[in-house]
């Protein structure tokens, strides 16, 4: 994420902890009271320029416009589907927002309950009504592969700086991986390699707070799949 910066100590704060009393502005998940900044959530203190905020350690996924997520069809209407995207609110997917031409009432022919789809958040309004779309490159219904879930706060570690982590996993395991901002990750590939990718991502989930994660994960995958050592580099797109 672009807000990455050098953090000398990773200080864990709880709601109500004083973050700063020297006049810094409140960043995300922080609030000001009498000129002092307090934490508004359980997380890690984060200073950026002249603002101080908190990076949450957990919590529910809150959709933002432009996020790509993985959803599971929950309910079918005559002109829309209701999709569970792990948010506090259901996300309706309208027939105009799918890449197929759907006749009124024919919705169930295209997507059934339990189907997994890749989506983009089209809009979230102030009353948190969500609209999602499948009309974008790479968005489609998912078939095969494995779906794993993790806390959405750790997704940024799976992607890595500028996508370095996910690119490395893709290169080493030869898998197709799609990471949803809502913490759902879809992995498809050869049995062994896909399992290794799943294990690697679980490793990231467990060790999200540690530094040098990319190196550790690379070592882990190379140990699990010694033969990929030769393939390295060939997969670069």
């Amino acid at each position: 994420m672009e807000r990455r910066n050098a953090r000398p100590t990773r200080e864990i704060v709880v709601p109500g902890d004083l973050l700063d009393d020297s006049g810094m502005c409140a960043g995300s998940n922080a609030y000001m009271l009498d000129g002092k900044t307090y934490a508004g959530i359980l997380g890690v203190r984060n200073v950026y320029h002249d603002t101080v905020g908190v990076i949450p350690l957990g919590g529910r996924y809150m959709p933002n416009t432009g996020d790509t997520v993985i959803g599971i069809i929950e309910d079918i209407g005559s002109s829309n589907w209701l999709v569970d995207i792990n948010a506090p609110y259901p996300a309706p997917l309208h027939v105009n927002e799918v890449p197929w031409k759907v006749e009124f009432g024919d919705t169930s022919k295209y997507l059934g309950i339990g189907n997994v789809v890749m989506l983009k958040i089209l809009m979230v309004d102030e009353s948190k009504k969500i609209q999602v779309t499948m009309k974008d490159s790479g968005l489609r219904r998912v078939e095969g592969g494995q779906l794993i879930e993790m806390p959405h706060s750790k997704v940024s570690r799976v992607i890595g700086k500028g996508g370095s982590m996910i690119q490395m996993i893709k290169n080493l395991t030869d898998c197709r991986i799609f990471v949803g901002q809502n913490g759902r990750i879809w992995i498809d590939g050869d049995d062994d390699k896909a399992d290794t990718a799943v294990e690697a991502i679980k490793l990231i989930e467990r060790e999200a707070q540690n530094s040098n994660l990319t190196e550790r994960v690379e070592k882990f995958i190379r140990n699990r799949l010694p033969e990929t050592e030769d393939d390295e580099g060939e997969e670069d797109q």
């Binding site: 709880v14 109500g16 508004g40 959530i41 350690l57 957990g58 706060s153 540690n210």
Partner: protein, 247 residues
């Protein structure tokens, strides 16, 4: 408050039946994240009280008519287990537990940033496993820790403790005997960063002077409890960090 006893609740030296002084609270222990299926949870022991709190959400508010288009609602359920008291408690909601659920939900609403989640509901479940007076305070204390553990945005954590009067003495954190045979019981919950009161009730009689003294003691103890809550939350995440470093 009701019964009479020949028991000496506070002896001449000012020591109570469980060995505490008047302004001492019972030993507190809080554990965070004890339940894996809930979004957040906490287990709390204060003296002989044992309380489990679990939090779900924010999620879609279920009885649809309860939804508030401007903010999230907090639904709280306080429940005493049948085995929590020495005479079996008839299970199910009763007048007392409905009241406690309501006041705890209202106290939590003051600190949770509910306006971030319009139309949603945050569900808090409090189970009293063992009761020894002061369970509403214990329940609220545990519930606010569970809320923080669930990653719900809130202004502060709420500690709660009771003060009261027994044998003519103003006492902090009444136990069962002092509560049953005492003269008054005042549960208090505050927002520590601003010292706002979010829960205050009184059962029994006290003079104004005694009441002020009780309130002072309870305020002090709330701040102590607040430190225990914060340490419990920080420990939970610090330990997981160390574990990972050792791997």
């Amino acid at each position: 408050m009701s019964g009479h006893t020949d028991m000496v609740l506070v002896d001449k030296k000012g020591v109570r039946i469980d060995g505490r002084k008047a302004d001492e609270h019972r030993p507190v222990h809080i554990e965070v994240g004890v339940l894996s299926n809930a979004d957040g949870s906490a287990y709390l022991e204060i003296g002989k009280n044992k309380v489990l709190a679990a939090v779900y959400g924010p999620r879609e508010c279920h009885p649809r008519h309860l939804q508030d288009p401007t903010k999230a609602i907090i639904q709280c359920k306080y429940n005493m287990q049948a085995f929590s008291v020495s005479d079996r408690k008839r299970p199910g909601p009763d007048r007392r537990s409905v009241e406690i659920s309501k006041i705890i939900a209202e106290a939590l609403e003051k600190v949770v940033l509910t306006e971030l989640y319009p139309r949603a509901s945050i569900d808090v479940y409090i189970e009293i496993l063992q009761a020894n007076a002061g369970t509403r305070c214990a329940g609220l204390t545990a519930a606010s820790v569970a809320l923080a553990d669930a990653g719900i945005p809130m202004r502060d954590i709420v500690p709660a403790i009771a003060a009261g009067k027994a044998d003519g003495h103003v006492l902090l954190d009444l136990n069962k005997e002092e509560d049953n045979y005492g003269e008054a019981d005042v549960p208090l919950a505050i927002v520590p960063s601003t010292d706002e009161i979010v829960l205050l009730q009184m059962d029994g009689n006290m003079t104004r002077k005694e009441f002020d003294k009780a309130l002072d003691m309870a305020f002090g103890a709330c701040h102590d409890l607040y430190d225990v809550q914060k340490t419990a939350l920080k420990n939970r995440y610090a330990i997981s960090k160390e574990d990972e470093a050792n791997e």
